[in-house]
């Protein structure tokens, strides 16, 4: 009886969290006349695919998809390589400057993003990287790197050091021990961390909007924003684009959720 109550409560809470996303997806499946009703239809009927069709055939969407994939891919690959090495150093070695470095990557996460806007702008202007993907990648790296190092450190720490020592006793070099023993165990964590970096880069709007001045290079969030600003397009296509944008993120999150949470609490709790 009590269990039944708990289960019902679970479903209600679940409904609260899912509803906005449900509403986004179903709004995308309604024609205008059903979206702009004073008594909304809770279920789209008939299902109306035109909004999705309109977007998938617009050239801007695929361009934006390409830009987003390119930038995000670069951020994740570079970021993972760099932060993995740093995480290993922090988790496996005690050395001078370790605490300072840890402190630095924590503090650096506290600076409000809006405030760094002009400094980043000046830096990229000086480096002649305004309007380039490379410039954007650099900015995103700065957002993701500290957090990635932090999280990965947790994953590496969670692998007992005795395992690789044992491998080294058995004649493996440090590098081999690492590659054969530790890496497979950390791989899921690496995956989880990269998804976090991926989401940060994938969803960032302001910097992408300002730093990329050619529409052909717009990333998806900027493209979506232009849908919002455009005359005579409306909630239908806008929500459709948002759905297409959010869906892959949700799917990935559902896949990695357990690892991700483990890594977060590991990174957070273990000193």
């Amino acid at each position: 009886m009590k269990k039944a109550l708990v289960n019902v409560a679970c479903l209600l809470v679940c409904a609260f969290f899912v509803f906005p996303v449900y509403w986004m997806a179903t709004t995308a499946l309604k024609p205008d006349s059903d979206i702009l009703r004073h008594t909304p239809k809770l279920v789209p009927s008939p299902v109306h695919w035109d909004n999705f069709r309109e977007i998938l055939t617009a050239s801007g969407f695929w361009n934006a998809m390409r830009s987003s994939l390119l930038v995000t891919g670069a951020v994740v690959l570079l970021g993972m390589a760099v932060s993995f090495l740093a995480a290993v150093a922090l988790a496996r070695f005690r050395f001078r400057g370790r605490t300072a470095f840890l402190l630095a990557i924590i503090i650096v996460q506290m600076i409000p993003g809006e405030a760094l806007f002009i400094p980043f702008y000046l830096m990229l202007r000086d480096a002649r990287l305004l309007g380039t993907y490379a410039g954007l990648v650099i900015v995103y790296m700065s957002f993701t790197l500290p957090f990635a190092v932090w999280m990965l450190r947790g994953f590496v720490t969670a692998v007992p050091a005795e395992l690789e020592q044992a491998a080294m006793v058995d004649g493996a070099s440090r590098f081999q021990a690492f590659r054969k023993v530790v890496f497979p165990l950390v791989a899921p964590g690496l995956m989880a961390t990269s998804v976090f970096s991926w989401i940060t880069a994938w969803t960032e709007f302001t910097y992408a909007y300002v730093l990329l001045d050619e529409p052909a290079r717009y990333t998806l969030p900027v493209y979506i924003q232009s849908f919002i600003g455009r005359y005579a397009t409306d909630y239908g296509p806008q929500m459709a684009v948002a759905t297409l944008f959010t869906l892959p993120v949700v799917v990935f999150f559902l896949i990695i959720q357990r690892r991700a949470v483990a890594g977060l609490s590991a990174g957070a709790v273990k000193g």
């Binding site: 269990k3 708990v6 289960n7 409560a9 679970c10 479903l11 809470v13 679940c14 609260f16 969290f17 899912v18 906005p20 996303v21 509403w23 004073h38 809770l42 932060s83 090495l85 740093a86 290993v88 150093a89 050395f95 370790r98 630095a104 650096v108 996460q109 506290m110 600076i111 409000p112 993003g113 809006e114 405030a115 760094l116 002009i118 400094p119 980043f120 830096m123 650099i138 790296m141 700065s142 190092v149 006793v169 058995d170 004649g171 440090r174 989401i199 969803t203 709007f205 919002i228 806008q238 929500m239 959010t246 999150f253 559902l254 959720q257 483990a262 609490s265 957070a268 273990k270 000193g271």
Partner: protein, 318 residues
Amino acid sequence: MTLTRNPPRAAAPDRRRRGVRPASRSRSRALPYVLLLPAALGILGTLVYPVFQLVALSFQRENLADLIRRTTTWVGLDNYTRTLTDPQFWTVLPRTIAFALTCAGLTLLIGTLCALLLRAASPWARLALSSGLVVAWATPVFIGAVIWRWLFDSEFGVVNHLLTVTGLCECRGHGWFLTGGQATFVLVVIIVWGAVPFVALSVYGGLLTVPPELHEAARVDGAGATRIFFSITFPLLRPVYTILLVLSLIWDMKVFPQIWFTTKGGPYESTVMLGVYIYNKGINASQFGAASSIAVLMTLLLVGLSWLYVRALRQEAS
């Protein structure tokens, strides 16, 4: 497992280990620095330099004309005195702190309740709730804000409709963004909605580490559920809570897109928080120096907060 697949080679390792030792030690002294180098360079290049610029800007007059003509005028502490004598700063600062405290408090409370539900539920209900949380978590912040604005639309919004049909209030055509109070309420909903999943799943992860025997023992002793939570579960999870609280506070202090895509700080600037204040001063009014000084002050505040975080970590480590 990997170990058993590599049968030990006789004798050799011993000698090798002995021979290699001194070299390996010196190498391991350098190794962490080598490993750290790319990240350090990356962080230096991508963050330390802009942060340095930010601090420098806070001592300069930098407006649109300066930005375009690339002139630099040092003005000493002018920006700081201006910020600290701006009455708006002194309304926005306490408002932001109160707002962040409210959001973080609610997030932790609701997150804990969700975590307790997750633990108590049947597997299928647990799967449903945790998936639901993940769906909200994965929704990009600015899209979440756009959706919520649409849900609370006074004309076509489904919130007004649902409130009316369920008889909770006669809310047809109700405008949620007409008064500061209600607009703030909507912002709290948006932020808590987005922040609870992380907290709930982290607390749930923590709950799983609490040995069930402790609960059994307490229950046998006649303790109620609330009592058990506060005298057993919470003390055990205290470090997790400290960290979640500090992280939530920092995130909620920095909040920007949720406000920008809904109220833009209105009505009557009643929902202007520090992030929006910086954006208005800097990007909108082109007073980049003044905006930087606010940002520096805000960062100092957050570093103060993060110091709590580090202290909590230290305690945990020792």
